[in-house]
Symmetry: C2
Subunit: 420 residues, 2 copies
């Protein structure tokens, strides 16, 4: 016995309580089932990867956020001169599911079909500055098509993901498509040199937040030619398709757009958006995002990354992936549940089977078994004494039970429902 | 482009390929569904815990196997004099699900029902010496009843777990029960001092492996009195119930035995086994294991640990838990599947929809959608040229497809099945 100690989760992390886990499990099941129907296969990789595979993996800022694991036993040498953090660690927690997938495919490709369609659902870790609603461990939910060079991959990913989101009850999708090479061509035509395009893209990516005037201001301040910037921003803001070059990339995007629009039907819209950039440095072709009308952020995003696997395998393998923002989707589903708008099936009715003494445990077990066979969730609980029974029933109701049934000296009757 | 680099998983860890993940997902779903029907609630805690909560948590040897995480940013001071590994780390990966559960309950008990029945399924990490079939990341699958002092908890855990295992197709269960206090009394009566009982138990725990003569030899070599050891070992080997004291612990075990036997019926047997010890130091009452007849190891184990939560909360809370050896169960299910003895439902038939050119993608999407609506798993794949079609079909069959269908200039027909 003693004092209560601090039992909060580790900084920036969180525990998930029953009501939310139930929703998360339902969402995971619906997404997995949908992706399986599309021919994707679920795989798992370890949470830990050798540190040298995580560092230098084109993960941008995420590489700075890796949780690194101390070497164990004799491998740890604290007596070394000029000790650096790199001397101390050999493993790291994955910061996304794409780097482990590339390693998985390079390792196992001989045993896998080509193309290989992978599902991954699992936690990733990033030591980000803690902020409201963002945690240092969170779930990612990815599908990837490996070994398919054509737009069939993009279309399949978009069809499967919008169908999974629709099965969760989301609707009114806004799909945006782009290819950085399209944006690059427009910028080049307005006199902005290719070598500067990465910096340019980072500013354009902020148009949603700071507006086009903000983008123009930022670029000019960063030393880009003011007239060129004005021309480019004008073209992007007006969104005139005539500003886009009529090249192969644009034709591919248009084909993807038409096929995805056909699949979506009335469930949403799809358009080219030359301002879509996305953060990762590894994209090599089409990129895309899905938003739900009325919400200021996307709930899924992805793109083509044809050169990542080659760095591990020695031979390039075309690859294209799509990631559902699982935590954002769960937040939306929680809102829907609170407003009664959830499309997910509700759980069976929950019955507490109150056992009045150990002598009646056998009977209570049988009653609970019978209730389960009738489709209820039946939980065996020790009955409190008669004087405290009212409080016990209040508690049960508050914690989500729909009814109760007492097993004791008297004959057990069917469950009594709290709403009655 | 370049050479292939080493892409094997981190040492002692493994990737899980599609066929096994499908089985793991099925098993997880069946176990979760069964436990939910028994009134247990699924919760999640982060994989990382503050290191001082993992060290000194009564986890025995497991504490030596913790993966420890390097401090980040300014918290890491490599210039400190007499640097030790403890100075470098602030977090660790959980080595089981019981310590995090105790922290979770201490943190959230005010929002939880009493008793609280928890389900946890998730990975744990131990830096054990790599050996065949054992990995450094593996899945645990636990249920726990917190806040219930009576044997109802033990009976409920055993009923729920044997039902979950039966739902997976396992049968012929052998349930063994003990309470270390019963064993302790027998040993004391044979003249073996209480202060030495922990060491005694460790030797008795090996009776399965080294035989009773081996246990007697080990104890005598370790300095226990030879006559006392001979008396104790004789009593335990013969298993004469008259050797057991007729105390409260024994009465509780007998009551649990009778109720569990009633629940099991013809599905298995349950008996007191005074030699059952189990490894963890935190048990305070009944302990139990489930084996499947004919197999030399248990597939689930647990016990009562009434004093762990108190160390965090400041007030003792009775607690009892049961853990399915998920990896062992998966190995059994894989064997059953290979011999055609699996009871789990098989997946729907898989159809490859071969798209013969990008011009036919829209049609192929519609065909795939139609197949899915008929209950098939339909995967969109680019068709290889006619000359290579035979090889493509061979590959598809080898990778688990049941049939195929081509979408091109001709009219699409229904799927052709490989077995036809």
């Amino acid at each position: 016995m003693g004092r209560k100690i601090d039992t909060s989760p580790a900084r920036g992390m969180r525990d998930v309580l029953p009501a939310e886990v139930e929703l998360r499990d339902q969402a995971r099941d619906v997404i997995l089932a949908t992706y399986r129907r599309f021919g994707y296969s679920h795989i798992e990789t370890p949470a830990l990867e050798n540190i040298d595979r995580l560092v230098g993996s084109d993960g941008g800022d995420n590489e700075k956020l890796i949780y690194k694991v101390l070497k164990r036993g004799g491998k740890l040498d604290l007596g070394k001169a000029d000790l650096t953090p790199d001397d101390l660690v050999d493993l790291g927690l994955r910061y996304d599911l794409t780097v482990p997938l590339a390693r998985f495919y390079a390792q196992h490709h001989a045993e896998l079909p080509r193309p290989f369609k992978a599902i991954q659902v699992g936690p990733v870790w990033r030591a980000e500055r803690p902020q409201k609603g963002r945690y240092r461990q969170f779930t990612q939910c990815d599908i990837d098509v490996l070994g398919e060079p054509g737009a069939l991959a993009e279309v399949d990913l978009l069809a499967a993901t919008t169908e999974a989101l629709a099965a969760l009850g989301l609707s009114d999708f806004e799909v945006r498509l782009n290819d950085r090479r399209v944006l690059s061509k427009v910028a080049e035509r307005h006199g902005l040199p290719v070598a500067e395009h990465e910096r340019l893209f980072i500013a354009i990516d902020k148009a949603d937040k700071i507006g086009w005037d903000g983008v123009a201001k930022e670029l000019t301040e960063r030393g880009f030619d003011a007239a060129a910037v004005a021309g480019l921003v004008g073209a992007l803001r007006d969104g005139d398709p005539a500003d886009l070059d009529d090249g192969e990339e644009l034709a591919t995007l248009e084909a993807i757009r038409a096929d995805v629009a056909g699949q979506l039907g009335a469930a949403g819209s799809v358009r080219l958006d030359p301002t879509l950039v996305r953060g990762m440095g590894y994209y090599t072709g089409p990129i895309f995002e899905v938003a739900v009308a009325g919400l200021p952020y996307s709930i899924a995003g992805g793109g083509r990354y044809d050169r990542m696997i080659g760095r591990m395998l020695g031979t390039d393998v075309p690859a294209c992936g799509f990631s559902i923002g699982f935590e954002r989707v769960i937040a939306l589903l929680q809102e829907a549940r609170e407003t009664g708008a959830s499309m997910l099936p509700s759980a069976p009715r929950r019955v507490a089977v109150l056992c009045e003494s150990s002598a009646h445990l056998g009977g209570a077990l049988e009653v609970a078994r019978q209730l389960r066979s009738e489709g209820f969730w039946a939980s065996l609980v020790t009955a409190r004494p008669p004087k405290k029974r009212g409080k016990q029933l209040d508690e049960l109701q508050r914690h989500g039970y729909d009814g109760w049934l007492a097993c004791g000296p008297g004959a057990a009757e069917g469950p009594r429902w709290f709403e009655d």
